[in-house]
Amino acid sequence: MRGKGAAALAGLLGTALVLTACGGGSSDGGSDSGGASGKGPFTFVTGKDNSGTMPYIADEWNKAHPDEKVTIKQQSDSADQQLSDLQQHFQSKDANYDVVTVDVVWTAEFAAKGWLVPLKDDYAIDQAALLPATVDAATYNGTQYAAPYASDGGLLYYRKDLVKKAPTTWDELIADCDGKTTKGTIKGSKPGCYAGQLAKYEGLTVNAAEAINATGGTIVSEDGKSSTVDSAQATTGLDFLVNGFKDGYIPKEALGFKETESLNAFSAGQLMFMRNWPYAAAILSGDSSKVADKYGIAPLPGPDGHGASSLGGHSVAISQYSDTKGSALEFLKFMQSEEVQRNDLTVGTLAPVLSSLYTDEALVKKFTYLPDLLKSIESAVPRPVTPFYPAVTQAIQTNAYAAMQGDTTTAEALKNMAAAINSAAAGG
């Protein structure tokens, strides 16, 4: 297979370059060679530790591996800046970026650029205990390139004082709103009906992809090279959002909503339903929330039965330019171990990737949304896995937004979306 050959070649090339660069470039020391056996102290580059889980990880790892200590380098907490920092260091073949945290949507690009060590052969990791969706999201062209360690999925937050039980379908959701909400705005005497993250930014890609995936529509083909979004299923899916604005079950303010704004509105009692990530639960139960005892959590609704969530989350991957790949591989396994996963959840409220933790009684007691989150992630579809993600997400945002604003029909928007994605894949 050609792909394999090229990957191997890229690997060899990368190793060769590292070997020549090692002499002066690397401060890691201690390593005797590249390849799977490379052992020694290494650096783990990750986004800002908002969840506070990194100290535990560093302590536990270093205790068990005194000769292969990990140094954690924290980047900023803006995803854009993390991305460009990684791109920069990979481009300059930095041997000090041994293990990196990769957002699910960057995996394909990094893999296609030949920056990540494919997790196969000597580097294969058993992923059977993991939620399959998280592994899919770390896979490009049939090869896994990153080891998922934190997942994330969308949830439906609802007002249990206003509806008896959470809706499982879109039609139920709309029917629930009838009479109990003010149409088209969050500022009426009654709350608005439903909102997600629908401003024109990355969140819209997530929400639009969820709507499209819920109806069985897809955005890009398996190989990531062409678009499949111009379909009847996708039209039905996107119409849920488009008609929301037309019929008033999504308030017009939602066109400016990011995570914060939607959460603020729901927590002020101005929304009956909200799509958001699990992190919102802690804030909604907090002091400043007006709905602290009045909200419930459920999986996202869909056209018939529960819908699809977009998969969020992060993986860890080994840099092709690292000279401590052996230690790095062990670290990847460590990040997926039950102790780390458990700590990530209890300390950092990060959604685990190990399926067993979602049914762990003690954990479910503490995090009551776990079963719902499991449903959400089990049904989750990765956002488009494509090496042209920046252009693809632009294509999705621009066209979905135009349709929601009523500037264009849903069908037209999807046609343009498909064309723009194809054009991106062709190098435009």
Binding site: S76, Q81, S84, D85, S92, K258, E259, L263, I283
Partner: protein, 299 residues
């Protein structure tokens, strides 16, 4: 001084107080006062609102009461909480970057300003046009190549990587303002020094430099403010490295964790960034105005 640069008949220097000329329609005292209040409101209302929000409990962000309610200093404490944001560090970074840019631009610009205003040589207007052209330059035009270059050199997220590109607009600003200032200074003294046997360099050092000190100081303030306020280059070239990031970028990226944008806390940070500027403006108001009107360049 300000007057000559915008075209004043000789007999009327700015040093003499100017009586307002009655232009027929007389609004009277009340009208004038209303005008003053209107302008002051225009200029101060948003800043006032920033202050009110900065002092307001974040749970009441959209309270919209026009005076301070739910007053708390929590937002300020939060802004300086290093476990959440590196805002305090960014203030120091802004100071370091601003000082470096100012010193560098002044050191280089003062010579150019002197040459352009005082010396007669061929190609002067071409040089001046080139410098002006550089100041009109869209930052994005140099951003792409500089980003790539610095990426290759490992200069993204370093002090030098943030300081040097700012020279592209700070040198033209300094040269242009200094040239205007120098052109308005009394020539006769320099010529007298030259007649007394000073070389041009001696004349510059002994006569002009002391005379020019206020002008240079003013120019330095303008350059520093321009650097303190810069955003585009810094936001891209700091590349998320908190230890060198200036305050404008820190505030733009102010968060309270993933997906949480803290409004009132950001306002507190904004107030802290703005207060030194307000003090500078209060103290050096006359100088800044003369600098702005001499150079006609926005900072």
């Amino acid at each position: 001084m300000t007057a000559t640069s915008v075209g004043v008949p000789v007999g009327n220097t700015a040093d003499r107080p100017i009586r307002p000329y009655k232009q027929g329609f007389n609004w009277g005292q009340a009208g004038n006062l209303a005008a003053i209040v209107l302008i002051a409101f225009w200029c101060l209302a948003p800043f006032y609102w920033m202050l009110v929000l900065a002092l307001r409990d974040s749970d009441y962000t959209f309270d919209n009461t026009p005076w301070p309610t739910h007053v708390t200093l929590d937002n300020f404490r939060y802004a300086f909480d290093t476990s959440i944001n590196s805002f305090g560090r960014s203030l120091i970074n802004s100071l370091i970057i601003g000082t470096a840019v100012t010193v560098l631009s002044m050191l280089i610009g003062v010579f150019a300003g002197y040459a352009l205003s005082r010396l007669v040589f061929r190609g002067k207007s071409i040089v001046l046009a080139a410098i002006l052209g550089a100041s009109m330059f869209p930052g994005v035009a140099i951003l792409t190549p500089i980003f790539q270059l610095f990426s290759d050199w490992g200069w993204l997220g370093t002090y030098q990587g943030l300081i040097l590109p700012q020279i592209s607009f700070s040198i033209p600003l300094a040269v242009y303002t200094l040239t205007s200032f120098f052109a308005d200074m009394p020539w006769e003294l320099e010529e007298a020094a030259r007649v007394d046997g000073c070389t041009p360099i001696q004349a510059f050092r002994k006569v002009i430099l002391p005379l020019a000190a206020p002008a240079m100081f003013t120019t330095a303030i303008l350059v520093f403010l321009a650097s303190w306020n810069e955003f585009l280059l810094s936001s891209v070239l700091s590349n998320g490295v908190k230890s060198v990031e200036p305050s404008t970028v820190a505030i733009a990226n102010f968060t309270a964790g993933p997906h949480i944008v803290p409004y009132t806390q950001t306002m507190a940070a904004g107030v802290i960034v703005t207060i030194p500027l307000v003090i500078v403006v209060l103290v050096f108001q006359r100088r800044i105005v003369s600098g702005l009107t001499a150079g006609g360049v926005k900072g």
